[in-house]
Subunit: 233 residues, 2 copies
DNA sequence: AAAAAAGGTTATCAAAATGGTACAAATCAA
DNA sequence: TTGATTTGTACCATTTTGATAACCTTTTTT
């Protein structure tokens, strides 16, 4: 049984989310401001938090930081606007995902499922301060410290490059089309975004590949998409 | 196969939408008011609903709420006016997307595709028909990693070859005519496309068969079509 | 059984699609 | 404002594709 804490000062939204997630088989806890949320987390076993950004008293970011002092459970931020400020701020302070209001119920469910799955899969349930490390061959990514290394040597990626690489590395072996990559990284409809991805792919390759002409990690599947090679030996 | 239910009291619109979406390879179900729509959903496997807001008897929002009591499939609302009221109302009651009439066919298709993709990708698709691994004898296909192996050895197919093989392998044992194969892979009317398939069949054989002259997997049934032999031992 | 017809296979090649690259313009963060 | 990052545009390289046509095989007809 997975318990999810929903935090928003708008009770209607909390109730709507409750309905959707209960149908998916989750147990719901509710809080209407940051303080209540922290209380809840202290006294209950919470596996995932959905956290509104704009709240009275203590806003979402502050609350998120408080949570992060204690726990590494997944936190999904809810934000009324899709402003970049929020995006960056949220993801830098340690949010695992974010959704903009008005939200699409399926997207909510999808993101919750995906984060729960990831969390559970990595066996870092509950107190264990599990490191989020993704790896294939000599390519390592530590999502806590945001460090990426190739054969032990650290490389510097930009934010977008990092997000693309993380998405592919988390799902290493699986092939994703350009729209799929775009939608997962940008949280937006992809429309003629083909070249944008191509450019970022090139930049990533220049940084992680020994010989970008013959990539060993980030490979293309002609006519289908890209993948990170799963190298486990 | 993805089934889409189109609900609008204006039959012309329903038919127009049907034409557009069929071309994209979707199966269409039709209903002309809310009640019929709910019936349809009860009795058929519906993967997405396109729902007009203004309808006699029961309007779109009521219908949407009824649907939401049962299902979490994507619902796209259709509305004659682009008033904000409708948008908010629709999205809060659980619509996943919104299109205003008169709509742009390309936009319709884009939104349908996007919602289906999201729904299917995140595995919340209720059909969950199958594993993504298809196999017969020593021939294996993993549709997530897009890898195809023969007796453990990986082979490289082009996108079209892959799609043809996947179609036949998913339906191993069954025989399909050339037009059937074409229509399933290209989502288009086949018209004098006979030779194209033949050429691809040859390429596939060259790659998956030990001796392409005497194929053991991809067999021809003279005068009828092709099939992938079902080898289960 | 031989000839004719129909159906299937193979080879070649130009056109189209797709991916990669370079660089300029726009945007964003400090 | 400045420098870094991201996005847009244009062009090139490669792979894939579909069209044509000749050539086999199987089936049907005579």
């Amino acid at each position: 049984m997975v318990q999810i804490l929903v935090v928003d000062d708008d009770k209607e939204i909390v109730n709507a989310i409750e309905i959707y997630l209960k149908k998916e088989g989750y147990q719901i806890l509710k809080a209407y401001d940051g303080k209540q949320a922290l209380e809840m987390i202290k006294n209950h076993e919470v596996h995932l938090v959905i956290l509104d950004v704009m709240m009275p008293n203590q806003d979402g970011f502050e609350t998120l930081q408080e949570i992060r002092k204690e726990k590494t459970i997944p936190v999904i931020m809810l934000s009324a606007k899709s402003e970049d400020y929020d995006k960056i701020e949220g993801l830098n302070t340690g949010a695992d995902d974010y959704i903009t209001k008005p939200f699409n119920p399926l997207e909510l469910i999808a993101r919750v499922n995906s984060n729960v799955r990831r969390y559970v899969d990595f066996g870092s349930m509950e107190t264990t301060k599990g490191e989020k490390i993704y790896q294939t061959g000599g390519l390592k990514m530590n999502d806590e410290t945001k460090q990426v290394t190739v054969d032990g040597e650290e490389i510097k990626l930009t934010a977008t490059e990092y997000h693309i690489l993380r998405f592919l590395l988390q799902n290493k072996g699986k092939v994703y089309s350009i729209p799929q990559i775009y939608e997962n990284v940008w949280n937006e409809e992809s429309y003629g975004a083909e070249n944008i991805i191509a450019v970022h792919i090139r930049h990533i390759r220049e940084k992680i590949e020994i010989n970008p002409k013959e990539p060993i990690y980030l490979k293309v599947i002609w006519g289908i998409g890209y993948k990170i090679e799963d190298i486990s030996h």
